[in-house]
Assembly symmetry: D2
Homo-oligomer: 255 residues x 4
């Protein structure tokens, strides 16, 4: 599967590193806003032995049409910003190139635009594109249905400098219809990121816990999305939609 990457900040670099090391994807190019590192080879820059082409281009060097004519891809992966969509949107739509976007928030207008793209191609949008968090969110919803009488609390831990409540924790709280006060926020030292969803039963406790180690976790989420979007029809999907089929274990009958 040929892929192109938009964005080459800290997370973009981590994702590129996972893509290069995966046998399932072949990184054709990286496009970024800045002229920094222009024309550098991504494998060489990241110190990863790979024969994938992957050169870095500034957004000003080529239009998306020119770039995709020279180096066509099956999937565009977007870790840039809300504006990234303006660069490649029309080309993705007209050429039917799948899009995997991890942009944390889009304006209402941009969300409508995603839906417009999704008429003609497959689009995955997931602000926290790790497998772990999205799996826990679905599992937690199921457990809440099984045991609606439990008390659910969310504890999230991050480095001291992170100011607001974790967006992922808020998304979990919303999915479980919990008030904001259910989120307990710990800020200390250099903790990368911990999310725990705690279910208090009268006589037992269940804890669903996710610990981030490095940003490369997003890369594995992208791989999962890129691998699963192929089977889907045109439309707009979240990570949850791609994970859900795994939860359909079939109705059970032991007799």
């Amino acid at each position: 599967m040929k892929v192109g990457l938009l964005g080459f900040g800290k997370t973009g670099k981590a994702v590129a590193s996972v893509l290069l090391q995966s046998k399932e994807t072949n990184l054709q190019w990286v496009v970024r806003k800045s002229h920094n590192l222009e024309h550098r080879s991504v494998p060489e820059f990241l110190g990863i032995a790979s024969d994938e082409p992957g050169f870095i281009h500034s957004i000003e060097e080529f239009s998306a049409a020119e770039l995709l004519d020279r180096l066509p891809v099956d999937v565009i992966i977007d870790f840039s910003s809300e504006q990234g969509l303006e660069y490649y949107g029309e080309e993705a739509r007209s050429r039917g190139i799948a899009v995997v976007s991890a942009i944390s928030s889009y304006s209402r207008k941009k969300v409508e635009y995603l839906a417009y793209l999704a008429e003609k191609t497959r689009v995955v949008w997931s602000p926290n594109i790790t497998i772990g968090i999205n799996f826990l969110m679905i599992a937690a919803k199921i457990l809440k249905n099984i045991a609606p009488y439990t008390d659910i609390e969310i504890v999230e831990e991050h480095f001291k400098a992170k100011q607001e409540v974790s967006g992922t924790a808020k998304k979990i709280a919303a999915a479980l219809e919990l008030p904001c006060e259910s989120i307990k926020t710990v800020r200390a030292g250099g903790i990368i990121g911990v999310h725990e969803i705690l279910f208090g039963f009268p006589y037992q406790t269940v804890r669903l816990k996710h610990e981030s180690i490095t940003r490369e976790a997003f890369g594995n989420g992208v791989l999962f999305a890129a691998n699963h979007i192929g089977e889907k029809e045109n439309g707009l999907y979240g990570m949850e939609d791609l994970l859900l089929p795994y939860f359909n274990l079939g109705s059970a009958c032991a007799s």
Copy 2:
């Protein structure tokens, strides 16, 4: 729902206490092997304000037929021993009374007998009948399917005097097709019971953890089983079978 209970050891007492406090069940009788506490009222003995009849009988006092003629029930709950089945089996079958058994292991012959009962009534057999453990077991199977490349380890902690490896941990390992070496056993002090299933991803970790507080947790599992068996057809079920329908969230399509 009228229920009767076989067995009145430590766990039997804890289960009786949950049944008495639940509005969904009405405890008609307790039958135990020993003559100890014979004819005592269960609510009075446990110090629980309740107007449910619930007297304690020795297994020798009445045959199951006599007892069920006097005090009919909808569900027989079995926390006694492998032999309990011999007391009530035929009556449960012929009268169509549902059975919920938490006996930890049955001989092959007894398992066949369970299947024979299940021809004419609904039978739930679950050695660890807590909701938490059974939920985690299913969730872990799903996560293994989603991310088959992860390393899975099981850590179980129990009180010092517990000699063998936890049966529940072994059951989890079997369900996930893990070798026995994946189970790490901690024995210390008075820990009631902790089971953690750890999924090591390259750049993130997911921990599914269950902590037992008291034996009453089994009571809540029994209530869940008793409440859900009603809708089922005749047959032999595990807790997993009762939980599985909650995992069928429907195929998702965001477009």
Copy 3:
């Protein structure tokens, strides 16, 4: 060591049970406010095989002087209420009987009265008399001195019905000079009690964690206090004072 116990509520019973099972103490009597269970034998009531005398008396049956004349003790253990002191205070002082009190809060006047008793005997007062919590509190103070630049957060978890912030967590926060906002409060299901003191370093995290299993933990704290008060001079002590000598490992020199 002969001991007497004031108070026979849930915690008093748990403490009595530990005392009866310890070879170091011999329970002479229990005194309680209520007439409930009067003249019952404590070993028999708790179902513990023991030949220690231990009968239950109402506070109205004997004065402390009469009781101590009949059944003298070395240590009075107080799990009653602020008023307990009025019953036995003068006798403890004049007879030089050691006092171990776990009353959670005393009025200012009562604290002064404790100091007055301490002129003539040894008094230990510790609202949370577990070894674990008191050990962690001292260890945390030391770590704060070693690494004053760390961020310290306290997470406490208790059963849903517990309304206020844990008094123990507040005491830890005060000992570490942390603002109240450092305490994160989780309330869910039937959690007995968890306290975690988290130290966030830039590139590592240290967690000091205490989990209560049952109230009997207080009994072990009482045993520790009773065993260590013997070597002390008259005075008023906290659990910390009894633990501190263990922290003096001697100045080290490896050459």
Copy 4:
């Protein structure tokens, strides 16, 4: 304080990065075996804004005497290998330069040589030079003395590729006089490093837990050692010796 660093592998780089960012140390040079990166500026290579000189030299470029004549230091920090000592040993001894070595194991002969250096200067040797681990080791010894009847277990978690049992866990076990079977080893995914010392009391559990985030943690340990060695007399010290004075809180008397 002027410092020089031996070794510039992954951990050496992480330590250099902490040293450059600390106001307490001024990095004068890095010496390494390989000619790789020779004459590069450390701040420039690591992308850290700093006006500290810090250039990289091969061990073959200068003798230690020549280097120290040009760029004298107060402390030599050694993250190279057992052989590093041969480069700078005599000069450190004759010039009275303090040494902080984090080499994981020295031959018996090299340990004797460390003692020989320590006759004329101050030497700190600590294979795991993090503050967290060394603090926990001392705290655990104290708790074992306080409650010798507890069951102690060690759980260590690391990335899948780590083959042997953690050396740090073995050191903790030795310090607490525990058999090797007390160490439970979890290997999964990309876990950086977790060590938990668990104390099982009859009715409570105490967990002392250390989580590594990145190798930079060693840098903070080096800073601590470099800052504390100044006050010491000549001699050979471990991290424990530097931490111990913080545990001497003075004998307590509340009266």
